[in-house]
Amino acid sequence: MLRVGVLGGGFIARTHLRSWTRIGVETHLYARRGSEQLALDFSVTTHPDPESLMAAVDVVDICLPSDLHASHAVAAALRGRDVICEKPIATTLGDATRVCAAFRTTGRRLLVGHVVRYFPEYASVREGVAAGRIGDIAVVHLGRETFAPNRGAGDWLFDERRSGGILVDLMIHDIDYAQWIAGPIIRVYAQTARVRSTTFDDHAVALITHKNGVLSHLTASWAKERPIFRTRIEISGASGLVSHDSRDSDPVRTTPALDELEGAEVGLPGTAHLATGDDPFTAELRDFLTCLVNGSEPRVTSVDSISALRAALAARESASCGEPVDLGSSK
């Protein structure tokens, strides 16, 4: 049985552990904090440090704060392990380049968890668009709006130097989806601001121009009321239109709300909790595992994850200088 080692003890680590349990692999865990509770909730072998974990597994699954992705991915590659890494691949292009070099030299494989490609509504829209159901794409609207995760003010997520900020942590999901739908991005204009928070930018808007002329409008927000997590897609084409709004897609609405998210620390889209069949994280990790075993390419590649990061960093540059940023000129 394949052995997977999760690095990290937070919300995403828990989400991955739930999936690994459903998939059925031997699971290992290292976390600086939180491993005791996770060990109680899941059948895992805990380790005292990352090196011990890496020695004991075949695949390392990085669920750490974003600024720690690169160093741990490189360490795992040098240790001879394949790596699954949560998005973003890294928080700087320099780190991303170093990661790629390490995997190229060692011949190990890196899969980056841009999970939105595995949400059934997102995959289905992409399939229909690729099949020509709306003709040539013209304009794309994507929205991802939720509440700020319930963490202390000093948490890494709200420290732009550690998480990359809302553009690199949250909007990057839709940046990757936009490139999957409409192809390479050549120009980004973005703006971020403090809406509800007084300490970090919690709302962002971006205008993206693709190489083929398609225009994408992206909104990402941590400024909504809990327990909202609303995702929106609208894509218009030369001969049609497709749209999805998670707000109108819940097949069950109860009063009082039975949503287990009411007290949640972090929001997830409602469709993440499909009880039967694969939830998106399980679908993604299952696909990643299959690709590692078969040597095939998954739905999202590490090359995709780098171009998504490049565009997200260009968005951040645009937000700070107030001008659009052309990609191709930025290294």
Partner: protein, 378 residues
């Protein structure tokens, strides 16, 4: 009160048909007739609405009119409004007000000189849902509005009016057609002025042979820090249940608002024409706008909008096209003063401009003692 004699200059813009319907059923209004240089269209209008065709604008304006509505092709707004001004007839001009800033200024100046009321057709200031959200923002309950996400998308207009996609008549494509309504709404709601615009466009919907933009995204920065984005694309498919829509989301520091100007919607499905159709059953903003225009034409003051707001729209569109050419943010001048309240007779006092004033890359000659040189966008 005696009937108000009203005329319509041209049915080139399809809104003229709506105005004709509304005016025909309004009490106290005598829809005297129209002018149109398209003979086929004129015949159809006469057949459909029973209106008298006076042929040309100047003949129509000789009919002792109390008010006239200009619905000609965009580039003809300037000469048509000037004709109305010279005839001393109060005029409501379809949007976009003009296709060049110099034209907009000369229209205003001509009306001011002749003491003629001039209004731009911005019905959204009369939209009841939008009025409600304007009041909510003004009350401060939503806090500072940091972002606005606006949608004013429509169908390709060449299905009903081919001049829309002929740049020599329209002055431009989707940005010219659809950017100005939301700009005006945002200026009003925020009580603020735009200071820059970044625009991107494509031609990925519509006939591939067209030479103007059919899709556009704009990002407009306002002086007090709001960033408003507008999708003004002609991206609604031909079989969309309605012509398009106008909606926006305000993200404020104390709250947010989602507004759909046409949100009072009935869905009809008719198997005979195999269509789903959306009807808006809300109060008619066009009717409210016409009633307001007619009261202004009678000399009564109005708290809503004025022709200088049309000028702001033109400035924005010109700057948006400059942004398309450079792929950069373009600053807006705003040195032309827009009065906050409309006093009826006193409109957009333009003031003196220096002879090398530049607005959106278009040089405008000083108004003092010199007729403005019309500058067209390429």
């Amino acid at each position: 009160m005696s009937q108000m004699r009203v005329g319509i200059m041209s049915f080139a813009h399809h809104h003229a048909e709506r105005y004709a319907e509304l005016l025909s059923s309004m009490g106290g209004v005598d829809l005297v007739g129209f002018s149109d240089d398209d003979a086929d269209r004129a015949r159809r209008v006469t057949r459909q609405y029973g209106l008298r065709n006076f042929g040309t604008g100047d003949v129509l304006l000789e009919q002792n009119l109390d008010a006239v509505i200009v619905c000609s092709e965009n580039i003809r707004h300037c000469p048509d409004v000037q004709l109305a001004a010279d005839a001393g007839v109060p005029v409501l001009c379809e949007k976009p007000f003009a296709t060049a800033v110099a034209d907009a200024l000369s229209m205003q100046e001509r009306c001011e000189r002749n003491h003629v009321s001039l209004r731009t057709a911005f019905p959204m200031r009369f939209s009841e849902p939008i009025q409600r959200v304007q009041a909510a923002v003004a009350s401060g309950r939503l806090g500072q509005i940091r972002f606005i996400e606006g949608l004013n998308q429509g169908q390709m207009p060449d299905a009903h009016r081919s001049w829309f996609v002929d740049p020599s008549l329209s002055g431009g494509g989707a940005i010219t057609d659809h950017a100005v309504h939301l700009l005006d709404v945002f200026r009003w709601i925020l009580d603020d002025e735009p200071i820059s615009v970044y625009a991107q466009a494509n031609q990925r919907v519509g006939d591939p042979g067209l030479s103007l933009e059919t899709c556009g995204l704009l990002a407009i920065a306002f002086e007090r820090g709001t960033l408003a984005t507008i999708d003004c694309s002609w991206s609604r498919p031909a079989c969309f249940p309605t012509w398009g829509g106008l909606s926006f989301t305000l993200t404020g520091t104390s709250g947010s608002a989602e507004v759909d100007a046409f949100g009072r919607r009935l869905s009809w499905i008719d198997d005979r024409d195999r269509r789903l159709t959306w009807d808006d059953w809300g109060p008619d903003a066009d009717l409210a706008m016409l009633e307001d225009f007619l009261s202004v034409a009678r000399g009564e003051p109005s708290p809503v909008s004025n022709a200088a707001d049309g000028l702001r729209g033109v400035e924005l569109v010109v700057a948006a096209y400059a942004s398309l050419r450079t792929n950069r943010v373009v600053a807006l001048d705003n040195s032309i003063e827009v009065p906050r309240a409309d006093l009826g007779e006193h409109l957009g006092r333009v003031g003196e401009l220096s002879s090398d004033q530049i607005v959106g890359e278009h040089r405008i000659a000083g108004l003092a003692g010199e007729s403005p040189r019309a500058v067209r966008d390429p």
